[in-house]
Symmetry: D2
Subunit: 370 residues, 4 copies
């Protein structure tokens, strides 16, 4: 039924040859803020999804010193946020790491804290190192440990810091700023002073963090998860438990989505996140699908082949997979599992009916590395 | 705006006096399968919700020996299920403990198992004592420990047993059989032979039991929770965590609903369940609301005043609170917390728009004990 | 997999013989508010859905004079509502026409009006005859014409009347009073005086009655349809349109559900309604399903065979089909279509996961009439 | 709490001065695919929503001849679609009329038809002139009349034409092609030959076009409206009815959203549409909100002031309002109403939690025209 030769020289595609008459016609249209669709149709109606991003890898060994150096160069007061952001070679115009997703690495020293602000864009964090770091989300202070995943959803007041006596904290920020800017809907407000703490320390994870349990006497009417922190100390054991009773997904190993316990859906309206465990020796098969993904290695070492190019990663390295790029994950260890955290724009892609995928069938499901 | 004197002798209520002409008219109507509404209107349109059940308490000390004796009197093969059921004095016609809820106490000895069956009615269990008990729900075998809560939803194949080498297991069953019969929708089927196990042991709790985590690569299209077991070893710590950061609910202490992690709703379509922790010294205030409740004390000791009558309970005792009955819970210990499990018909009452409640305002919120 | 012989003398059913020891045991249990499940199990766990209602037909020719006579015998002031209610021979204890559904025929003379009240039970009406009748629902006055369907949902203030200069109005009331009483959740309140009209005449149907159109600048947060009247002048043409392009459903002809335009679901939480057109000469096949139904013939004449018994109906006759009863509808005219209105408890049955059906396969899908 | 002076020279914004050391640092970051957030933060985190589109008006008097001329210059076979598209001065790179919305004017002569294709992008049409035009959506042929609104959702096969004996048809196309391209998810397929008609003519509007009625025996599992055509012959009377009983919205007159009758939501997942009636003499007040809008005047004449600039329109003129632009609509006639059709990206903006609005308070709610 479909013709898949993808030639534009066929009935159903624009095949108009230029002529002097047509060129004159096009000029006339242009003066009226118009054009002839057939001059652009094949370009704006591609046969398959097309990404403007390239796959990239950011090695933590390269970046860590520079990130720490920023803490000597600027203060949080000057910088607003002391962050090194990671930018896709093809998305510098929108400060995106891939697609419409922003990511950066933020450093906070013991005793430092940032001002509180909020924005229509949503944010999330994945903790890379340090001790006694915290975030405050709408008056709820939450302590952070390595590999914890925390959210600061759309329009919540938020600020961060590290307690005196802690150790310098570094975490990855993920935001949908490029998307919300593209959708022409972002805003920003500065909190006048410090947010008052309106809930006991760690209220959210201690109230909503029981598996299959929700407060029977509370209502929650926000369009995002009431659970603001997903602790590694719970997440990793859950992956190990699941591994015992589930077949390994050939593409993604043991694959768990961070979820809003009140909906079973994504943690926020615009960004989702998941954690996957690649068992020792795992050699993932290749598939591609719509949606943009930023990964961080939370444990172990391995490599991912993206559109035929191999990217080797170990703990704390960050890389991205653009929409519709072939990708397959490999664990390089034969004895230890590896864990990949990712955040993505799946709530957008799925919510708007734009998700589709394809599995690589040739070569037993593995790409040829270039 | 409302008149609350609740007198039927007012405009807006039926106030027709009998007369010979009317009596003749009523008889004529009766021959046609009809009647005059005003002869029954005040009765079928009560001012406030009205329950036909009475509060009752079933003491485990009284029942335990009789329950165990059943295992000498009948085999599971003969009995189908070896269960002593608890019946409300006013609901014997429908075999209900309260409202339209059935409950019973089932005993299974080591090495015994029941046949598999299914029915449109939904079932749940709360484990009272024993070791190495298990249930099998749609091919998924799940081990049971004391104070675990498990579900066997609408039309799932299910069977139970205790492994050789275990200890005699006793658990409370809860079913909506009276409701589903009343709604004229129940059915029953016997499985021909043993259910094959289609999933590894404890698949459901090991896959869906991570807090805020769901499998990213699975879909679940059933109208009930994919999490079939809620383990006491997770539930009690969650209550303690919540206690640290939440104010105590004046009626219900620390109050957690067992929840479908994919919806944030009740575990099944017709029955909900929750667990509440009454802190040491807790003296709950009285309220009433629609919905029928069957409680079991999972820990500690205390009493509940229901419609002015005091019912003392300790671990394993079972009692019920009818719809719209005033009730308040008290922990009798000044040093230990007490925990009450309950199951209820809230999914029905809430789902059909029939929930309402009222708090007792007089006497500082406490009932006078008769 | 299922054994369908429906014999209770098989493994998986209760098969315990009485013995003196057991009888003594049962007596002991009884003193504790308990019983042995196996003594009642087969009874409360039927093989198939079981209804306590019988099929019945109420002929309007028989009832109309008696209904009108009530307007000579009592006033609305005395009666609250001047209604002849129709009661199932087997459901007199709960004043139900079938299952848990109440129905009655109400008569109002020109210039009469009733007081306003509200109750947790929901109500609906189907207009049988008269002119210039109206209902007022939460301050919204709506004019009524023959075959119009109107709703007065759960807890809305409502009252009815006929304008001076109109003609005596008769309509069928449908309520879920028996259900809401059974669920122990009903209440009642009398409005003190006349409801003020808070919206222009016919606000609801004039605002929400455009097909595929909703007000872009309004929000509606009630759990029932904002469209309170479904006019016959729109419904019948819609049936005729649908008939032109749809195959006839072998059981139900052209079959349209009254729907909440904001959800596509039932009009209220506890009762649904639909209208079906049986084309000229239609001979429906038999099926059975859960759910209770009260029908009124809105147009034409025909008969329905229910559990093997034939019930002939014509315009304005009312009949009921109990849960799980075989039923098939026949149009007796070879030239005119016939229309059947019904209301039912499908929101309950479907919402609680209790719907199931079966088609008659033998005898070409038609029942043998007894 | 918020400071609204919008100065970047305050605590909470980036305020880092360049220095030789910092410049060297920035260069080093750049070599690693990274940057310092504080160099871009204020730019990518604007205080208020910011649109890259400008308001524009396309007058039909200017365009009509050129549109018709295209039918002399190219055939549908050559052009794929014979469309003059309207492009925003600031969005030529993405062929968008405003934001991420595409619009064009398509002309089809009697006897012509296009090939069938489908794409992940969704489409809609608003009919401007002609007779006997039709569209075929997934095998369902639908006749089109002036001011009808039709949808061809995400991935449906579709084709258009005008019957022999009809009159040249011109309609406005609206698509989300720029959005779906930006989200890197578009695709395209050509149907091999003509779509077979799988449903009777006008099946969709004749089946789903009854107000408050849906087929009781059909299920629809698509994420878009089953109603593919919203006929002007129903829409305009519905506006007039609503006008009689509703207060006029000070910004939008009588304002009706085209709606999925099964959800009460937008007609498609990515684009919404509505029709508003501006009563004779209507002088709308100004507000602004997120979301991009393309308007066509369906009836009457008037003007819209957008960000202080007046745009005069009459029947068939098309104009756009960018996100967060102040806008107010005025009807220039004191005797006739005017109607504005629009389509928009509200499903995206609302669905992702990005909707917000503001009303103009100064000058009695009216903008100063520049």
């Amino acid at each position: 039924m479909e013709e898949n030769n993808y030639s534009d020289d066929q009935y159903g595609r624009a095949r108009v040859q230029d002529s002097p008459e047509l060129i004159a016609y096009y000029k006339e249209l242009e003066t009226l803020g118009a054009g002839a669709l057939w001059t652009v149709a094949n370009d704006i109606e591609p046969w398959e999804p097309r990404s403007s991003s390239v796959p990239m890898l950011w090695k933590y060994d390269d970046l860590r010193d520079l990130v720490l150096k920023s803490s000597e160069l600027v203060t949080p007061e000057q910088a607003g946020r002391r962050v090194v952001y990671l930018v896709n070679d093809n998305r510098k115009d929108v400060s995106a790491a891939v697609g419409w997703l922003y990511t950066g690495i933020q450093v906070t020293r013991p005793g430092e804290s940032t001002s509180a602000h909020r924005h229509r864009a949503s944010a999330l964090r994945f903790i890379m190192e340090g001790e006694k770091g915290y975030t405050v989300v709408d008056g709820n202070k939450i302590m952070l440990e390595v590999n914890d995943f925390v959210i600061t959803p759309n329009s919540t007041w938020h600020e961060h810091g590290v307690e005196e006596g802690g150790k310098t904290c570094i975490w990855q920020d993920g935001l949908d700023i490029p998307l919300v800017n593209a959708l022409e809907a972002n805003d920003y407000a500065v909190y006048d002073g410090k947010q008052p703490l309106t809930a006991p320390l760690n209220f959210s994870p201690m109230t909503y963090g029981g598996a299959g349990l929700i407060p029977a006497d509370k209502t929650w009417d926000k369009p995002y998860s009431p659970l603001f922190k997903y602790s590694w100390k719970n997440v990793y054991p859950a992956l190990l438990e699941a591994q015992k009773v589930n077949e390994v997904n050939p593409f993604d190993g043991i694959f768990m989505q961070y979820s809003n316990p009140l909906t079973g859906g994504h943690v926020m309206q615009t960004m989702g996140a998941s954690m996957q465990l690649l068992p020792a020796g795992f050699k993932g098969k290749a598939h591609k699908h719509t949606g943009s993904f930023v990964y961080q290695c939370a444990k172990g070492k391995g490599y991912t082949i993206i559109n035929g190019k191999r990217f080797d990663w170990k703990e704390r390295d960050i890389f991205c997979v653009p929409s519709w790029a072939w990708h397959e994950h490999h664990n390089l260890s034969e004895t230890e599992d590896a864990c990949l955290f990712n955040f993505n724009d799946l709530p957008v892609i799925e919510g708007l009916g734009l998700f589709q995928g394809r599995e690589l069938t040739e070569n037993n499901g593995h790409q040829q590395v270039q």
